[in-house]
């Protein structure tokens, strides 16, 4: 892009463009209210008395550890595997692209429990791939922390891929072409040009994937099981506690919520301001 007469050189983003119109502020505020009010009432309704006790308890700490670990690995898997997939879908014209694009969106549509069932049919010890694996290496996937990561990745990756594909399309192919004329391989152009320009979409996608992974339990419980210290994540723990003591479950939800909001607020504003 050529240097503009300073679109964007103003001190406060957008302020010189006039006040945001009511026709956007009102529905925007309604959306915000819809999202925020239930959270606030949930917070108000939480029995905060035993918050610290719960936070310190062994199963909660174990679940937090598993959750942090698996969601981090899931985001990593999305970045490493999902980014190339999004790029292929956005930039490369191959046979079956539109079928693949639809297929990528399918795990979004599956109820999580069914997603778990699908993973069992593929990677369970009698699954198509899983039985092969078991015969050749003796390894089984279910009931391991790896299984949790696989379940999370299966569920979260589509969010990541769709979001990044959208950003790649929005950014356009123009600078890829410029990079090619400067002798860049596609890989070099991808790293140095395509990806940096689509960074807001990558960040959004990573947040989506991470959040989805944090909240997931249907597929996890179905495919990986629910055992403290290996496969029990915070949502699984919360779900099981809901059956017994909803008040405790709510406190646990608050723990999950505060931890994740903390991380989100910290990371996201940093990412967004630098990119």
């Amino acid at each position: 892009m050529t240097p503009p007469p300073d679109a964007g050189a103003t001190t406060r983003s957008g302020s010189h463009l006039g006040r945001p119109p009511l026709v956007l502020v009102v529905p925007g505020a309604m959306a915000a209210a819809l999202l925020v009010v239930p959270l606030v009432t949930l917070v108000l309704d939480t029995p905060w008395g035993d918050f610290l006790d719960q936070l310190g308890s062994a199963p909660v700490l174990a679940a937090l550890r598993i959750t942090a670990l698996t969601s981090a690995v899931t985001v990593l898997a999305c970045l490493v595997l999902g980014t190339p997939l999004a790029w292929l879908l956005a930039r490369v014209d191959f046979a079956g692209r539109s079928v693949l694009r639809a297929a990528v969106a399918v795990p979004l549509v599956l109820p999580p429990v069914v997603a778990g069932v699908a993973l069992v049919t593929a990677l369970g010890r009698n699954g198509v791939v899983g039985s092969l694996l078991r015969e050749t290496t003796g390894l089984t996937v279910p009931f391991t922390t790896t299984a949790v990561v696989i379940a999370h990745t299966f569920v979260a990756m589509p969010f990541y891929v769709l979001s990044v594909e959208g950003a790649l399309r929005t950014a356009g192919e123009r600078y890829d072409v410029v990079a090619a004329t400067l002798g860049a391989t596609r890989w070099h152009a991808f790293r140095r040009v395509t990806l940096p320009l689509a960074m807001p979409g990558v960040v959004a996608g990573a947040v989506l994937a991470w959040a989805r992974s944090l909240g997931e339990f249907g597929a996890t419980i179905t495919f990986a099981g629910n055992f403290p210290g290996t496969t029990q994540t915070m949502p699984s723990l919360i779900y099981t506690q809901l059956q017994a003591d909803p008040a405790v479950a709510r406190t646990l939800s608050m723990i999950l919520l505060l931890v994740s909001v903390g991380v989100l607020a910290g990371l996201r504003n940093r990412w967004l301001t630098t990119s």
Partner: protein, 349 residues
């Protein structure tokens, strides 16, 4: 950077009670980039010239409200800065240096955009847009997206878009760059005609002496973010205060202590051996380039003091002297052809 910072005394100047006619009066400060004052009567055309990075586009952006500034802007007797007027309420027509056509809209829709945005109905807006495209010679490209246009075609669409909304303040940032000579000439005339009927003020950024001289009533020379000179085109052309202007109008300017000494290329004599004459008007130089210039041949040479000078000689003389690049020559100029006037220190770092 303070946004539209206005001090008490400035407020008095631009307060609502004080109408100063349909012209433009602005004092613009953009820290590190520009600190300039512009005044122009209604209906006048101001050519803004200056080297790259002088602050020309910054000035236009500040007037349009897209660049944050301190100071005040008053157009048609109304202040645009106290209170600050939103960009969209400033009736400007802005041709961006890089065109900035909407990539998702056709040429026609681009031109119609401003009309639609200001409430014109779809059909008349499109009809009017088509007229403007026709006037600029790109009527048959109306349905094309910007990326399907050549550079010059896009430039014309951008000009049509800026003119179509009938602005109060016309801000043209190198509108003729990238246009072929024929179109540029036609457009200069079209624009001159348009500007003649135009009650508002037009600012025209240009790197071409011709534009400044043919279209403008006033010239504003910027250098290093400050106003280096103002005046009528003829004035400025005759007494260039900056190297940039001198080069622009095709004069040689050499500096001698506190004075500028300017002389036309035709006053320079080229010879192979050291001529007589005062050292002040005599240089050893090596030829950089030789090109036809009208009926003459124009020579660009660099003196031993690293000064570039131009000289016009007859084609016969050029052949006779063997004036090819690299050739060592002597340049002399008669004192009678030299105009001397005070030098203003260049304000550029």
């Amino acid at each position: 950077m303070a946004d539209h910072l206005v001090t008490g005394s400035e407020e008095a100047l631009s307060g609502p009670g004080r109408a100063t006619g349909p012209g433009l009066h602005a004092r613009v400060r953009v820290p590190g980039r520009l600190d300039a004052e512009v005044t122009a009567a209604g209906g006048s055309v101001v050519a803004v010239i200056g080297p790259n990075g002088a602050g020309k586009s910054t000035l236009l952006g500040a007037l349009a409200g897209t660049t944050a500034m301190a100071g005040e802007v008053e157009v048609g007797g109304r202040s645009w800065t106290a209170p600050p007027l939103a960009v969209r309420h400033r009736r400007v027509g802005l041709v961006f240096q890089d065109q900035s056509l909407f990539p998702h809209l056709s040429a026609l829709e681009n031109v119609a955009f401003g009309l639609r945005a200001r409430g014109r109905a779809r059909t008349p807006a499109r009809a009017r847009a088509q007229e403007w495209l026709d006037r600029l010679g790109v009527g048959e490209l109306a349905a094309r997206r910007p990326r399907q246009l050549s550079g010059g075609q896009a430039q014309r669409v951008a000009i049509a878009r800026a003119l179509a909304t009938e602005p109060e303040l016309l801000l043209l940032d190198e509108p003729f760059s990238g246009l072929d000579v024929g179109v540029a000439t036609a457009l200069r005339i079209e624009l001159a005609r348009h500007l003649a009927d135009f009650a508002g003020v037009a600012l025209l950024v240009t790197h071409h002496a011709l534009d400044a001289l043919t279209l403008a009533d006033e010239v504003l020379v910027l250098d290093g973010g400050r106003v280096a000179q103002t005046g009528t085109p003829r004035d400025v052309a005759a007494h260039p205060l900056t190297d940039h202007v001198a080069r622009l109008v095709g004069l040689n300017v050499v500096v001698d202590a506190d004075t500028n000494r300017s002389f036309p290329p035709s006053a320079v004599t080229v010879s192979l051996r050291a001529p007589e004459g005062s050292a002040r008007n005599r240089w050893r130089a090596s030829v950089l380039s030789v090109v036809p210039h009208g009926d003459a041949v124009r020579l660009l040479a660099r003196t031993d003091g690293a000064q570039e000078l131009i000289a016009d000689v007859t084609p016969e003389a050029a052949v006779e002297l063997g004036l090819d690049p690299g050739r060592e020559v002597w340049l002399t100029v008669k004192e009678t052809s030299v105009r001397t006037y005070p030098r203003t220190a260049s304000m550029r770092p």
